[in-house]
């Protein structure tokens, strides 16, 4: 078995003194897609934010080892530079910052970190064009400000597009499917599938099983009350779709 890309051990975390994650254990290896499912309020988004390093989300226990490093010690920008990518559930609008400019700034930060030369606007455009085809994005989206005035679907596509350009080792997709119609969902999922390689991995956080019809996970975990209460293969997702969460929660309920 290959070395884990990320190893989460007994992770506890919370916000404003309120405990939300209560001992998460999860190991993800290169080439794997893990789905984390769970009802509202189970801690799904918190897990995404803790992994990305959001201020105010305090780790109170456990360890996260990412690519051999202590992830919790790294500021958010260094996590990104080391190849961790969070696709936001609610992508943030940044008026006044051109989408292409923003992405090139991010791309060059990653290159600098790897001691590679920065790319200029012309070369970057070529990279962008190629990835845009992958996600079927209109040119106009690149000329607008980051996420400003984008529809829900456009915002999610823009997240996956950023992911395509930044080419992370580990992508954490936080409810990327929420608020998408079926066509947008398919485009987003196909994008994710096309980016899958033996040397990268994804954690797909979702509330609904339907995303997993398009992004087929290797493992499915159920998050409830801050703990992963059940893990299994892709068939677990179908079981959840059929039976809901109650049969599991009953066993593990508070």
């Amino acid at each position: 078995m290959s070395q884990p890309l990320i190893e989460i051990k007994n992770l506890s975390a919370g916000i404003n003194g309120k405990q939300i994650l209560k001992g998460i254990n999860l190991t993800v290896r290169p080439g794997e897609v893990h789905a984390i499912m769970g009802p509202n309020g189970s801690g799904k988004s918190t897990l995404g934010y803790v992994l990305a390093g959001r201020k105010g989300y305090d780790v109170t226990g456990g360890t996260v080892t990412y690519d051999g490093k202590d992830l919790i010690e790294l500021p958010p920008e260094d996590r990104a530079r080391e190849g961790l990518f969070l696709a936001f559930q609610y992508p943030v609008e940044i008026p006044g910052v051109n989408n292409t400019y923003f992405l090139r700034a991010a791309y060059n930060e990653l290159r600098k970190h790897r001691q590679q030369e920065e790319v200029d606007a012309v070369d970057f455009l070529a990279i962008v064009k190629e990835k845009m085809k992958l996600l079927d994005l209109p040119d106009s989206m690149m000329k607008r400000a980051v996420n400003e005035g984008f529809s829900g679907g456009e915002k999610k596509r823009n997240e996956i597009f950023q992911m395509a350009v930044l080419d992370p080792k580990l992508a954490v997709l936080d409810e990327t499917d929420s608020g998408l119609d079926i066509d947008a969902l398919r485009i987003v999922a196909e994008g994710v599938n096309k980016l899958k390689r033996p040397d990268n991995a994804a954690i797909v956080i979702t509330h609904y099983q339907r995303l997993l019809n398009y992004i087929v996970p290797d493992f499915v975990h159920v998050l409830f009350d801050g703990r992963l209460i059940k893990s299994g293969g892709k068939e677990l997702a179908l079981e959840l779709e059929e039976k809901g969460y109650d049969w599991l929660i009953g066993k593990n309920g508070k």
Binding site: E77, A80, Q162
Partner: protein, 444 residues
């Protein structure tokens, strides 16, 4: 709103105004205008902080500066000194005024165009022009503030732009006002008049700068008369030195179906007060007021705007952004006045302020007086720091916190600058603002 008129104390300003108005040459109507200016200035004096409109803007330091009004352009200014104030790639005309007086040797006049007059006020006052007599000082009322009255008492020179009906100015017009304070003069009082005939169109940039770092006083008044269906973009950019006092009024009268786009960008001066008053005198007017100030140190920048909806079916949209560092102070007072018959008014106002330090302050005040009942008026004001979510978002994309702050601060400024349609002006502004914001971010 009642404003008690303070009793004016005798000032050197008044003595100078009286003597100037009594002796300066010109046609009788002009001499009368100046005398009226003196009379009103005598009544009003300089505003004090007891006046509601000046409560946050203490003009006392202005009045303490020795008052040496310039009587002509300073011949010592050279073309090379103007280089920093040129817009990149600018091919249009540029009228240069030194201490408020036209400097032909430094100016590039536009190629003659039928129906388009771009010149200086003194030239037309000398030749006599019925248009001037009919319009000058008819819009910026002399009794508004002591400063406008003082400007009126000294009317001599400034820019004059006249567009005949249907005339479209071929190129944007750059009006560059340079203060070169020296032994003989430190006060410039340009008086500008822009008269746009029906369905005419022009883009005009009013640009204020200083040579050297000595204190000086600019007391400017610009009157703009926008005819029916005319389309005018007016950008004012104030980047004077940090000892300067800049007091200015832009007064625009907007006729039926006209469009008016106003920008006010203010980075300079120790004290800058901008009054921008738009009066919609006909139906179907569409106007935008767009503003940005970026200040630090002990600067004070004050915008007082008025959108006066005197007629139905007009729209006014106002966007002001402030970026404040050091111990600077910002004031935004946006008045929306909807008169009794101005039904179907659509007025929107936003004022957003970014404080880079704990010691910078802003007083932002919307002032709505709505006398009609079928209108849509909204306003919103924010004062605060950069958005934490946006900062985090940038950081998750690999952008370090300090750079994310820089990026978001510049973006906040760009939102306003991007509304200027003249590209070389935008480019110049971006350069100046970039440097200014870097200073503010570094000094914090």
């Amino acid at each position: 709103m009642t404003q008690t008129k303070p009793k004016s104390e005798p000032t050197p300003h008044l003595a100078a105004a009286e003597s100037f108005a009594a002796s300066a040459p010109g046609p009788e109507w002009l001499r009368t205008l100046r005398r009226n200016g003196v009379t009103h200035f005598t009544e009003l004096g300089f505003p004090t902080t007891k006046l509601e409109d000046w409560i946050y803007c203490n003009a006392a330091p202005v009045t303490k500066l020795a008052f040496k009004p310039a009587t002509c352009a300073d011949a010592a200014v050279t073309a090379a000194q103007l280089a920093p104030f040129a817009f990149p790639g600018w091919t249009g005309s540029r009228l240069v005024f030194v201490n408020g007086h036209f400097a032909p040797a430094l100016s590039t006049l536009p190629a003659p165009q039928k129906g388009v007059t771009i010149t200086n006020l003194a030239a037309v006052l000398a030749s006599g022009d019925a248009l001037i007599e009919a319009q000058l000082a008819h819009h910026a009322s002399v009794d508004g503030s002591g400063f406008s009255a003082l400007n009126t008492a000294f009317i001599t020179d400034g820019a004059f732009v006249a567009l005949a009906p249907n005339a479209v100015a071929a190129e944007p017009i750059h009006l560059l006002f340079i203060s070169a304070p020296g032994d003989t003069a430190n006060t410039a009082q340009p008086r500008n008049l822009i008269v746009a005939g029906a369905n005419s169109s022009a883009k005009i940039v009013e640009h204020y700068v200083s040579l050297g770092g000595a204190a000086h006083f600019t007391n400017a008044v610009t009157e703009i008369v926008v005819g029916e269906g005319a389309n005018i973009e007016h950008a004012k950019f104030q980047e004077e030195n940090l000892e300067a006092f800049h007091i200015a009024t832009v007064q625009a009268t907007l006729a039926r179906d006209s469009r008016f786009l106003s920008h006010s960008i203010s980075t300079g001066a120790r004290l800058a007060r901008h009054n921008i008053n738009l009066v919609m005198t006909g139906q179907g007017v569409d106007c935008v007021m767009n503003g940005l100030y970026a200040v630090g140190g002990k600067q004070l920048v004050d915008h007082h705007t008025i959108a006066d909806h005197a007629q139905p079916h007009c729209g006014s949209h106002e966007f002001y952004h402030g970026i404040l560092g050091g111990q600077s102070r910002g004031v935004f007072n946006g008045k929306i006045f909807v008169r009794k018959d101005a039904q179907k008014t659509d007025a929107k106002q936003t004022s957003r302020n970014l404080l880079l330090t704990d010691t910078a302050t802003v007083n932002s005040k919307p002032q709505l007086e709505i006398l009609a009942d079928d209108v849509k008026c909204t306003h919103g004001a924010t004062v605060g720091q950069l958005n934490d979510e946006a900062l985090f978002y940038c950081r998750t994309r690999g952008i370090a916190e300090v750079n994310a702050r820089r990026l978001l601060t510049h973006a906040f400024a760009s939102e306003i600058v991007n509304r200027i349609t003249v590209e070389p002006v935008r480019e110049h502004l971006e350069q100046v603002l970039w440097a200014r914001l870097e200073e503010l971010i570094e000094k914090k």
